[in-house]
């Protein structure tokens, strides 16, 4: 049981990294992105390809750690492009329009990955080597330790950013009313761009972690995993970064525990559905969200 909880925390950590990106975007532009899984997956697959066959034209084979870097950088670049050409024109439109656009992006990236990289499960060796630790009776592989470590780093970085930097304050200022923020001198478009770039990078990080810690991923897998992240964000409150982390960890643990307790396939999905619907019905804004998350 304890072992399952620890394993669940590791999976939840990867969800949480995606969820932080989702919340960052939602906080500022009220856009709910379901593409946050697939964005990073594309970078991850590209990094693996380059590690395997070398960078086209140059011929360099990048290292295991390089795969992670490529996933993060490519994820950030995709975020940059999407914000400028897809999301910005949609900000003032009904929220469902932007949601559908991100669905299209997820679909497009997944199909492109299938076409470019095939449908086989792709697995990356851990960027920090192979080793194991025993925690409370659970054996954690190095990749899972990295996942848990990464979410702690992300959480601390987010806290420092929002409490200690001027730009962090500007990002928070955009959350209420973009028009008011603009009048107060907040560079709103730069804030939007920033959130998408950071969320894209986080997506790449999560894809690299899941691709090495949990038996690899296939195209479209990440969208499914992103749903767990989305569920975590909804439960924690769509505009609360701490809430999203807590919610995602909870989803990870529930999936692991329920999956272990029942033989029937798919019971974790039942638990997630029940958890999401129950949370939204009892508290539409999520556990830690404010009025704006409802």
């Amino acid at each position: 049981m304890v072992a399952r909880v620890v394993t669940g925390l590791a999976a939840g950590s990867a969800y949480a990294i995606v969820a932080v990106g989702v919340v960052l975007i939602f906080k500022c532009s009220k856009v709910l992105s379901v593409a946050q899984g697939e964005i990073g997956a594309f970078g991850f697959f590209l990094g693996l390809r380059w590690a395997d066959r070398g960078i086209p034209g140059v011929g360099w084979h990048i290292s295991r750690f390089g795969t992670l870097v490529v996933a993060v950088v490519v994820g950030a670049l995709i975020g940059l492009v999407l914000e400028r050409f897809v999301i910005r024109p949609l900000v003032s439109r009904p929220p469902l329009d932007a949601l559908i656009a991100t669905l299209g992006i997820a679909l497009f990236l997944a199909l492109l990955e299938k076409e470019m990289f095939g449908t086989a499960t792709q697995f990356a060796p851990s960027p920090v080597g192979q080793w194991k630790v025993e925690v409370l009776g659970a054996t954690l592989t190095s990749s899972r330790v990295v996942a848990i470590f990464a979410v702690v780093v992300v959480a601390v970085a987010a806290w420092l950013f929002f409490s200690r930097t001027k730009f962090g304050l500007a990002v928070l200022g955009t959350t209420g009313d973009p028009t008011v923020a603009r009048l107060l001198g907040v560079p709103v478009n730069r804030v939007y761009r920033f959130t998408w770039v950071v969320a894209g990078a986080l997506s790449g990080l999560a894809a690299a972690l899941l691709g090495s810690a949990f038996g690899g991923i296939t195209p479209f897998d990440m969208t499914r995993l992103a749903l767990s992240a989305l569920a975590g964000a909804v439960i924690g409150g769509l505009d609360s970064i701490g809430g999203a982390i807590a919610g995602s960890l909870a989803i990870g643990v529930v999936e692991a525990v329920v999956g272990g307790a029942f033989d029937t396939a798919g019971t974790p999905a039942v638990a997630v559905l029940v958890l999401v619907v129950a949370t939204l019905l009892l508290r539409p804004r999520g556990l830690f969200g404010t009025e704006g998350a409802a």
């Binding site: 669905l103 497009f108 199909l111 076409e115 969208t223 499914r224 749903l227 999905a269």
Partner: protein, 614 residues
């Protein structure tokens, strides 16, 4: 047939025939395409009509298909098996839609996503659900591919018919009202919760039929690909690329996305594998269609149709709508007026009370904010009572309290009946109608549809029954249309009846709103800033109309007004509110002369300087 629709039929038929002649295609593949088109039309009903996005429609398609096979394997006759698929899918869709009763928009989309994942991981991994090893024997009647194809097309035609019925009955109007003006729809006698669930159930039934068609085609289904999340997203893509609300566009999009890849293994000129490229292109098109303008192929058809109209019928084209409605003398239409007021009401209400409306110490509190307190007004039959005060004084809140949209304490008696605690629809039925400061109508619908919408409570047949055209619903609809046409004629709007409300000038929209309130035959009409945004001439004309409403139709009016000339001319009695409390009452001349009214209503500094620039 409209040119745009003829064009769509021609395009789809050409695609089908062309593929059969050119490609190496079996007719049975097209059956699958038609099934997807039907499922997309079902999703569109939910998206375009009710404004709800479901990401679970591929799962629902699976539920329909598997149920049909399961029923068929147990020896049910095939029509019953398909019926079972429809019923079970409609029930599943209703369950998937339950969260929409409490949450909305993005969050509902998330819960449907969770439903899709749940169905994939849990339901479709169970052999008893997916009917593994079971087969549905195709009946002799549908044995051949041609018969099966004709059957699928017949199902498509049935779905188009249902969509049409939804468009012309109270169900479609109710969906639109819940989508655009949910909080106000209750005033028309619409129950938002059951309306939403009806939309989900109907959408599910259509998808269930699509699943039935797939089951008839395959007999047994082992691959679950058509029912996975990817396919749910592709259904959304088909609806958006085709153009939400446009059946012709959606069927075309379904054919393009689903049939093309199967017809051509390579695109001859560019040498690309179509089965791989088309889905990617359709996903890109989805993004493009949303970013550019969410109108899709349907808009393209309409544009071509308009050109065709002009070429085929020069001079016969419809005249552009007149920018301003003609002013009709209500007095000349006494007969019509009587017909509109002829609404059956509960006779117990005819109590000999002096005041038609009497509020006593009404108080409305939102959280920690007291919006109005101790408001006591009296409106006698046949009066026009004015309600004035600065912005935020609580005038509209008082209207909300009377019409049941705000939680009020105290007493609101209408014809001696206590309204506090009564649901809004009951107040409509008792004869209280109102307009809203920012229009409580559906801009995407036509003028006539909006006037019909306001009378929903006059037609007691449930919306679901009205789609089928059963029982008294046909007569009810006819009666509503008669009343709507009368009201439109009275207000000089008859020539605009089929125009989209949102296309009309602002002043005309306001007139439509008053006409729709009057069409419901009220005894008491609450007009919230009816002259706001109108020019002096239009305001004067509206003042005349208020007097005519009272003198000819016998409607008692309470009006929230800012135009002093209109107040002075039409009102018998005026109340002035400030910060939620009454500060003055009396004849218009008396109230407007009060120093505290001048200060509150016309502005403090201006009053102090002795200058008033309104």
């Amino acid at each position: 047939m409209r040119p745009s629709r003829a064009l769509a039929v021609a395009a789809v038929a050409a695609a089908f025939v062309g593929s059969l002649l050119l490609g190496d295609v079996k007719l049975s593949i097209l059956v699958g395409v038609v099934a997807v088109a039907i499922a997309a039309l079902g999703l569109d009903l939910l998206v375009a009509r009710a404004g709800e996005l479901s990401l679970a429609h591929a799962a629902l398609l699976g539920i329909g298909a598997f149920t049909t096979i399961n029923a068929g394997d147990r020896g049910w006759p095939w029509p019953l098996a398909i019926g079972a698929g429809i019923a079970v899918t409609a029930a599943a869709a209703t369950i998937a839609g339950l969260p929409s009763l409490r949450i909305r928009g993005l969050q509902v989309a998330i819960t449907t996503l969770a439903f899709q994942v749940f169905a994939e991981a849990f339901l479709f991994s169970r052999d008893d659900v997916t009917a593994a090893g079971r087969t549905l024997d195709r009946p002799a009647m549908l044995e051949g591919d041609v018969q099966l194809f004709l059957f699928s097309v017949a199902c498509l035609a049935l779905v188009l018919l249902v969509r049409r019925r939804v468009g012309v009955t109270k169900s479609g109007r109710a969906f639109g009202a819940v989508r655009d003006v949910e909080a106000r729809a209750v005033c028309f006698g619409i129950v938002p919760g059951s309306t939403k669930l009806l939309a989900y159930a109907l959408s599910g039934a259509i998808v269930g039929l699509a699943g039935g068609v797939l089951a008839m085609k395959a007999g047994s289904i082992s691959a679950k690909d058509p029912f996975l999340l990817l396919e749910s997203l592709q259904l959304v893509a088909i609806v958006v690329v085709g153009g939400a609300g446009s059946a012709a566009g959606i069927v075309t999009a379904a054919v393009l996305v689903k049939a093309l890849p199967q017809f051509y293994s390579t695109i001859p000129i560019v040498d690309l594998r179509a089965d791989r490229v088309v889905p990617i292109v359709s996903a890109a098109l989805l993004v493009l269609a949303i970013v550019a303008e969410p109108q899709g192929i349907g808009a393209l058809y309409r544009a071509i149709g308009r050109v065709a109209d002009r070429v085929l019928r020069p001079g016969g084209a419809r005249a552009a709508p007149e920018p301003r409605p003609r002013f009709v003398d209500l007095a000349a239409a006494t007969g019509h007026a009587g017909a509109l007021r002829d609404v059956p009401r509960d006779l117990r209400l005819q109590m000999p009370v002096r005041a038609l409306l009497e509020t006593t110490e009404v108080r409305v509190q939102y959280g920690g904010i007291i919006a109005i307190e101790n408001v006591s007004i009296e409106v006698r039959r046949g009066e026009i009572v004015g309600l004035i005060g600065a912005n935020g004084a609580g005038k509209s809140t008082l209207f909300h309290a009377v019409s049941g949209l705000a939680p009020a304490t105290g007493s609101i008696r209408y014809r001696g009946v206590e309204l506090v605690g009564a649901p809004p629809s009951r107040r409509s039925a008792l004869g209280v109608a109102r307009t809203f400061q920012d229009m409580g109508l559906v801009r995407a619908d036509t003028v006539r549809e909006n006037v019909l919408l306001a009378q929903t409570w006059l037609a007691p047949t449930p919306a679901g029954v009205s789609i089928l055209g059963l029982g008294t619903s046909v007569n009810e609809e006819r009666e509503l249309r008669r009343r709507a046409d009368l009201a439109l004629e009275l207000f000089g709007l008859a020539h605009l009846a089929d125009e989209r409300l949102g296309d009309l000038p602002y002043g005309t929209m306001r007139t439509v709103e008053i006409a729709s309130a009057v069409a419901a035959g009220p005894d008491l009409l609450l007009l919230d800033e009816a002259t706001a945004g109108l020019g002096p001439d239009e305001s004067h004309a509206l003042g005349d109309r208020m007097l005519a409403l009272r003198d000819v139709l016998g409607v008692t009016l309470v009006v929230i007004e800012h135009h002093v000339p209109v107040i002075s001319r039409v009102c018998d009695y005026v109340y002035c509110l400030e910060s939620g409390v009454q500060i003055a009452e009396g004849s218009p001349a008396h109230v407007i002369a009060q120093p505290q009214v001048v200060e509150s209503f016309l502005g403090r500094t201006e009053a102090a300087r002795g200058g008033v620039d309104r």
